[in-house]
Subunit: 396 residues, 2 copies
């Protein structure tokens, strides 16, 4: 057995045996440590619950001798999506298996589902990517809140990094992809004629849908929650109009009869074929009622945590259709199509035709304490005030 | 002006001028009256409301000299569907126009939507049907609770009458057609493998779906309301099993955990792709939850008058789809396909492979008083105990 292998075999046990208080120092010392081992950290959980209670920072080491079909990735950026939090809470249907692969004392899973990685080294049989390339995960569920990861070629999508930021690449696979597929896969909308309506219009998906609509000639009616002051409401409206929204209205405006008849006028009573819903509950019924006969409501979120109550006349006589969209399921079933969608969005981004969602960066340096990271991630529960939370990796 | 035309021009005014108490006698006398006029009666309404309050029997005459493109029809049988009652109440979205065409003192509409007619005479340009043929209406909304009607060729579908009863022809266009399209148009079910589940399984649509399923190798789970006694429940179960139902369960059985896991077993957890719903409300949620991932609920009625409440997780994560079916809209948009569907069902009927729904016949003779007819139709509100109500015409 070559020397490096012997060390690799002992290393996890060695790390596990270290007393916790010494671990960070040791890890730091080992970061670009002896025999080429890569020191890595990951936010892991071994049971479901509130992230502040169940998440912890685990340090481990990755051997320099990669199997032929594996890649070593270094994480550049990873967003904090509401679904990531739900997954840790155990209320999300997609549950990564708890394993002992990272040498945790109890079987654990790495949190997070979306990221941009840089290829740090590749196994001997890997041809499609090279050291320094950027990649994202083909599917969700990989575990991305970590400094490094081993992956196989089938797990990744290479991203042409020219003209992109790490954050742009890290956030393309979930929200903009969701918006793209919902606008394309459910109703055959025609540019210059058709409209769509959406709630949560200032969300990541909402902003993406506005911009894709603008590019494709689809007109949009965008519903936002009423802000605390009229000035805040106006400022949010302006922000979305600047992105390309055709109309922006508040939830309370949507309740008024005059707005409902305005919508009918705008859309000629027949060109509002698609609704995108991430809210649910009674406020969504008002949106549903604005849809033209034969229209389709696609639900991709339930921020109100309330069910959707449908008067059956809307189904039978108005011929409305109701479906759901879950980007994880779609990505798993449509791998080639996902690749094309992601590349198209990134190309629009490079050309300045697709703007990022405002983000709040949370730096993850090698020395950043686990407590601080867990706290930052917990912010995802209430939503980040000034935009989507993104972990941005520094000297890790 | 030929003599007959002059009489025709005067006749409506003449009839209108008759004092009501004399009208029946006069009408009776005129039935195959002077100059070949056909005496006709129709159940009409001139405002929306309870059928017992707004329906009345109107007598009028139809000239023997038909325009070239018209046919004179004599009604043989016409069912009383719940939608007919809703239409009279004004709570149905399809509202026939109130007109003065029949010479009513105020503009009125003829009630009823489905019937089998016999062609009594044809205009000179009619080629597709001959005297004595049977026809049904291509679309709903024509007004069928009447002894006679004038129609154009485009309104009708000829029915090959051999081997059929009037009632079979009169009831094919709504319920069996609804069942057929719902089983075919929403999910691609495979005989020998796939299942569907339906509530209101002993309704006209429900019985039709059971039989079509049996013919096509589709297995069915049929939900019925709990009867007053276990014997009545068992008797209804047996009736539906004899028709070809694979399983029959009561609403309360559907609520039990053991039934839910039985259903999963029967359908291998993945072959229950379609649900048919005419009930709505909370009991329908139990049905929805039994659908396999990616399944589809098609709603065609709302007997509970309650909305459908959908936990959004069923849309997003279980990928369930929700649509509605309205046979009137479908028939108007798919005239050729309707013709084929109707002919297929009637052929199965002739071959003894498709049994009628049990009916309760209400005879409409020339002398039957309006009061009695209105009363009979009102029975449609609570549903006919021993089957679907059908007006069967005698010496009219």
């Amino acid at each position: 057995m070559p020397f490096s292998r012997a060390v690799r075999a002992q290393a996890p046990a060695l790390i596990k045996s270290l007393k916790p208080q010494y671990a960070p120092t040791v890890c730091k010392r080992w970061k670009s440590g002896p025999y080429g081992y890569t020191q890595a950290k990951a936010l892991v959980y071994s049971k479901y619950g509130d992230p502040s209670e169940v998440l912890s920072l685990h340090t481990h080491s990755i051997s320099p001798s990669l199997p032929p079909n594996q890649l070593l990735l270094r994480t550049l950026a990873s967003p904090i999506n509401p679904a990531d939090i739900n997954q840790i809470q155990g209320v999300y249907p997609s549950k990564p298996p708890f394993t002992s692969l990272l040498g945790t004392s109890v079987p654990s899973a790495v949190a997070g589902n979306e990221a941009c990685f840089e290829v740090q080294s590749i196994g001997s049989s890997i041809k499609s990517v090279a050291k320094g390339d950027w990649v994202i995960m083909r599917s969700t569920g990989f575990g991305t809140w970590r400094t490094h990861a081993l992956a196989e070629e089938k797990d990744i999508l290479r991203v042409e990094k020219g003209g992109l930021t790490e954050i742009q690449a890290a956030t393309v696979g979930v929200n903009p992809t969701t918006a793209w597929r919902m606008l394309v896969d459910f109703e055959n909308l025609e540019g210059g004629r058709d409209w769509f309506i959406q709630n949560g219009a200032n969300s990541g998906v909402g902003r993406a849908a506005i911009q894709l609509g603008r590019e494709w000639g689809l007109k949009s009616i965008n519903i936002i929650r009423d802000r605390k002051t009229p000035e805040e409401t106006e400022s949010m409206k302006k922000e979305l109009l600047d992105l390309g929204a055709t109309k922006v209205i508040t939830e309370s405006e949507l309740q008024s009869r005059s707005t409902v008849s305005e919508i009918k006028e705008w859309t000629s009573g027949k060109n509002l074929k698609l609704g995108l819903n991430c809210v649910g509950g009674p406020v969504t019924l008002a949106l549903v009622k604005t849809l033209s006969p034969g229209g389709h409501l696609v639900t991709y979120g339930a921020m109100s945590k309330q069910p959707l109550s449908l008067p059956t006349g809307l189904l039978i006589f108005k011929d409305l259709k109701f479906s759901g969209f879950w980007v994880s399921r779609w990505s798993d079933a449509n791998s080639a199509e996902k690749e094309k969608t992601v590349e198209s969005i990134l190309q629009m981004t490079r050309e300045g035709r697709f703007k990022d969602i405002p983000v709040q960066e949370m730096r993850w340096e090698w020395a950043t304490e686990g407590e601080r990271l867990v706290e930052a991630v917990g912010g995802g529960l209430e939503g980040f005030r000034s935009g989507k939370g993104v972990l941005v990796f520094g000297d890790t």
